[in-house]
């Protein structure tokens, strides 16, 4: 009899160990699901905080699909976080364009109509102090190639921050330069140099961000303009009527034929027909 009791006690103990193991395993599974942002507790679906989990700070909640499978949904679009001090990539922000008013390097008071316009405007927010900005000032003075539908406007902060004399010394006469702190505020400029491309037809910012070289800006510019429907073989009416489109096409054709400005083949003596030549003789151009 005592042997039977002892056997039952051992059996109960083994079963108890099995139950404890199963409960522990279940708890670990629940903890893992919780860390993954999935809650199976219907009473706590709406008050979860996933900030410390693997969700990377995304706000969300667990829901059940019609089949009963838990799924994760998010109320906020995923965002890209960058290190402090580094601006987030903006791309097409949809920010409304704002006309600019400020002073020019020669002391004038100037407004610039950004929209409505049949062209895009590239706003270059520069300072006179930063080394990277100096590269852009220099590039603009030497002349940068812009898409046909794009206008460049350099914007510095107002005279309360930037010395007008310093701006005048840096600004190229052929590049529209304006001092306007309001413009920096309106376009939310976080750092310098900073660029914003505005679609004049829709009146919205179609691309913005910081860049360290003109080549990088030009790459972003071409992409944003293509997305906005500019360029891509289109000829602007203004360029067509002013003959600029024809000039550019001729330059392209000559370049394709291997003729560059100053090529000696462009300056040879004109071909003069030889009056004594028999019909059919081939005329040779003079060297």
């Amino acid at each position: 009899m005592s042997a039977v009791v002892l056997l039952l006690a051992i059996l109960v103990g083994v079963l108890a160990l099995l139950v404890i193991g199963l409960l522990r395993s279940h708890a670990e599974i629940l903890r893992a699901l919780h860390d993954a942002g999935i809650s199976l507790d219907p009473d706590r679906e709406h008050d979860h905080d996933h900030s410390g989990g693997r969700g990377g700070g995304r706000a969300g909640r667990a829901e059940r699909s019609p089949s009963g499978t838990p799924t994760f949904t998010s109320d906020i679009a995923p965002t890209i976080r960058t290190t402090d001090g580094v601006p987030e990539p903006a791309g097409s922000t949809g920010r409304r364009a704002v006309d600019i008013a400020g002073i020019t390097p020669n002391g004038g008071t100037r407004t610039v109509s950004i929209a409505p316009s049949d062209q895009a405007t590239l706003l270059a927010f520069l300072t006179t102090g930063c080394a990277t900005c100096a590269d852009f000032w220099g590039a603009f003075a030497e002349g940068v190639e812009l898409p046909a539908d794009t206008r460049l406007v350099v914007v510095t902060q107002g005279p309360e921050t930037e010395s007008p004399a310093d701006v005048a010394a840096m600004a190229a006469p052929h590049v529209l330069t304006i001092q306007s702190t309001d413009a920096w505020d309106d376009y939310g400029v976080p750092v310098a140099p900073y660029f914003a491309l505005v679609d004049g037809r829709r009146g919205v910012v179609v691309g913005e961000g910081a860049a360290s070289s003109w080549d990088r800006v030009r790459t972003l510019l071409d992409r944003a303009l293509a997305d906005a429907g500019y360029g891509a073989g289109q000829v602007r009416r203004r360029d067509l009527l002013l003959g600029k489109a024809r000039t550019e096409r001729v330059d392209r054709d000559l370049a394709r034929a291997g003729l560059s400005p100053g090529d000696p083949r462009l300056f040879h003596e004109p071909v003069v027909p030889d009056e004594d030549a028999e019909p059919g003789d081939q005329e040779q151009p003079r060297p």
């Binding site: 020019t104 020669n106 008071t109 100037r110 407004t111 006469p173 052929h174 529209l176 330069t177 009416r237």
Partner: protein
Amino acid sequence: MKVRSRGIELDLPPGWEAEIDGGAGEGTGAPSGEVLTPRTHIANFPMPPVRGDFGSGAVEQMIDGDVLLCLLEEAGEAVGSRLHGHAGIPRLAAGDFSPQAMQRPLKGQSGAQVFFHDQGRAFVLYVVVGSHLSRASRIDAINQVLAGITLTAD
């Protein structure tokens, strides 16, 4: 957009831009003692940063539909002259425009020039349209801009 400088206030319709400065010589090393009077340029197309008083540098880029207004103040002795006898900022009509009124004739373009005085100041208003043939279609817009100009005494 509103802008104000040198006793000239502009209330511009959308799509127009302007610059008010001290004349072509300001900031360009003009001879000392030379009197520089306010110069205002208003346009409905992108104005280049460097322009002559009467719009040279800008008029060459104008096409059909473009308008440039040049409001140039003249020296004080012009006030009271018969040339500037018109009082107040004028309004224009299609008949005021002529290709012969251009400072430098440009094919297809047309100009109008009016002298006037206001607030004890004498001005010349010179307006260029990109196309003489379609000048009538721009008159309302030109007069809307002129209505948005307010001059105050120096």
